[in-house]
């Protein structure tokens, strides 16, 4: 049997079919595939909703107790549209307080939550600003408000501090300067410009897509990133499930 004949025939057939189908036909096929994908997401969403309600009602045993001590620092990324609805953010924080989370960083790229900081602190019981907490203050929930200005711009401010140190160390006549370009030095410089360098253990993303949306890159190295869906339709059970899953994660940090 000559291999080439049937293959050439098949290739020619597919070429002819593609030509006949044309762009319009391919477009229809593409839309059909996306309809199927959307249906899959809807079905999966329904299952998740049912599971979430079962968790909320305490019907699934394994979620009834969570080792919250493992979760030292939680961050929440909120899509800009969702960040305008402060009441939902407050509700989320109240849930997190109930679960026992002690430290939460709230991020939205435009800083809308930063602007509503006072209102949020007023509406969430026993909440304080992270910068104002004492070391042993374990009651309530410490909040941090973060935006895109705490990402690249903050690193640039810190970089300029290192730049000045570098320029001084290059001054003639001075002893050979220290190497100012290390991660430790950058951490220190970030603290000087008022930035937190705490690395969140878990990042919950409330928005249409799983994307960190510009959360400070320097703090995101080994953070678990979980997509929670829309803030408008957030569910307590899904929140419990995400935190529970995190407590079971084993990090090897590249080793």
């Amino acid at each position: 049997m000559d291999f080439n004949d049937p293959m050439l025939a098949l290739s020619s057939w597919i070429g002819q079919v593609s030509f006949l189908i044309g762009d319009f036909g391919l477009g229809l096929l593409w839309r059909f595939i996306h309809i199927v994908v959307t249906l899959c997401h809807i079905v999966s969403g329904i299952f998740e909703a049912v599971e979430s309600y079962a968790i909320s009602l305490g019907l699934i045993q394994k979620y009834s107790s969570i080792d919250i001590e493992k979760l030292k620092c939680l961050a929440v990324v909120v899509d800009i549209e969702a960040a305008r609805d402060v009441s939902k953010v407050v509700e989320l924080l109240q849930w997190l307080t109930t679960i026992g989370v002690k430290q939460v960083g709230l991020f939205d790229s435009q800083g809308l939550l930063k602007k509503s900081k006072d209102m949020i602190l007023e509406m969430v019981p026993r909440s304080v600003l992270l910068q104002e907490t004492g070391e042993k203050d374990t009651s309530g929930i410490a909040l941090e408000f973060i935006s895109s200005s705490d990402n690249k711009e903050a690193v640039v401010k810190a970089a300029n501090i290192l730049f000045q140190k570098y320029l001084k160390s290059r001054h003639p006549g001075k002893d050979e300067g220290e190497n100012v370009f290390t991660e430790t030095h950058l951490n220190e410089a970030l603290r000087v410009v008022g930035e937190s360098v705490h690395v969140p253990d878990l990042l919950l993303v409330y928005g249409p897509v799983r994307s960190h949306l510009g959360f400070p890159a320097w703090r995101l190295r080994y953070t678990e990133i979980v997509h929670m869906g829309s803030l408008k339709y957030m569910r307590y059970g899904s929140l419990l499930k995400a935190i529970h899953k995190f407590t079971g994660v084993r990090q090897n940090y590249g080793v």
């Binding site: 593409w30 595939i33 895109s148 990402n151 370009f181 290390t182 897509v209």
Partner: protein, 270 residues
């Protein structure tokens, strides 16, 4: 014709048919937007080896390399212009020395093989670039990587960026150092801007990734391109890297296409 030849012919026919079907699927996929740049966090080689009771220290990584060749072929056929592979992280050097040596030796072997393919014109016009702290590599591996970059420099096909001895934290610090040194040399301004730092990043040669695919089921970026992925769709699959196949890639791209409107709107806002 004997049975062995018939089986061989059938196998060729079958493979040929699968290739044509794959190209048809990609033709349909390409009706929608295709990510300009896909980054892969290639996790799960060691777990793959454990799962299949493979004894050799580099067995999982060898299986992983096969996956690399398939994924690059698929990306090329789909028309993705840039692909980044997170091959070996800065923190991975803290693994057992025997394992690190094994991985470095395997990388050297595969780079030398790829050089031969490039010279003989069998690399499909791929352009390969290595980024990261290459001074951490042994001299022979570093020289081989350099050679591969040289022989593929003129290629204008898919650009493959291989991250070796890479981490975002190291990249940021390195970029700050380089931009400071450069700024001193310029003499105009004594203030760094975001653009100064970004120009000096290892990844300045490629646009930000539109889609990041992590295999192995883990939900973190593991110190990979956290600076560049603020507008990226982060996709995780439970398949281990050597198990990553056509359908995983197609699914990820379909997901990207569904989210494209939102991602574009986000880009305009920023």
């Amino acid at each position: 014709m004997n049975t062995r030849e018939e089986v061989g012919e059938f196998s060729k026919l079958f493979n040929g048919f699968m290739t044509l079907m794959r190209r048809f699927i990609f033709k349909v996929l390409c009706v929608g937007p295709i990510p300009n740049h896909i980054s892969f966090i290639m996790d799960g080689n060691r777990r793959f080896a454990k799962k299949h009771n493979l004894q050799d220290l580099d067995a999982g990584h060898r299986a992983g390399f096969v996956s690399v060749t398939h994924v690059l072929q698929y990306c090329q056929e789909i028309g993705v212009p840039y692909v980044t592979l997170y091959a070996f992280g800065h923190d991975n050097f803290r693994r057992e020395p025997e394992e690190v040596k094994c991985v470095m030796d395997l990388m050297l072997e595969k780079i030398e093989l790829t050089i031969d393919q490039a010279i003989s014109g069998n690399l499909n016009n791929l352009k390969v670039i290595f980024i990261g702290d290459l001074n951490m590599l042994n001299e022979r591996l570093k020289a081989a990587a350099q050679r591969l970059m040289e022989v593929t420099e003129e290629n204008r096909g898919l650009m493959v960026v291989v991250c070796v001895a890479y981490s975002t934290s190291h990249e940021i610090v390195h970029a700050i150092r380089e931009s400071c040194v450069k700024k001193c040399g310029d003499g105009d301004s004594q203030v760094l801007e975001v653009s100064d730092i970004e120009e000096c990043m290892y990844t300045s040669i490629v646009p930000d990734p539109a889609l990041v695919i992590r295999t192995g089921g883990r939900d973190r970026l593991s110190n990979f391109m956290t600076w560049q992925t603020s507008k990226s769709l982060l996709h995780t699959t439970v398949a281990l890297w050597p198990e990553l196949g056509l359908w995983h890639l197609v699914w990820a791209i379909l997901k990207f296409q569904r989210m494209q409107n939102y991602l574009q709107k986000k880009q305009k806002l920023d």
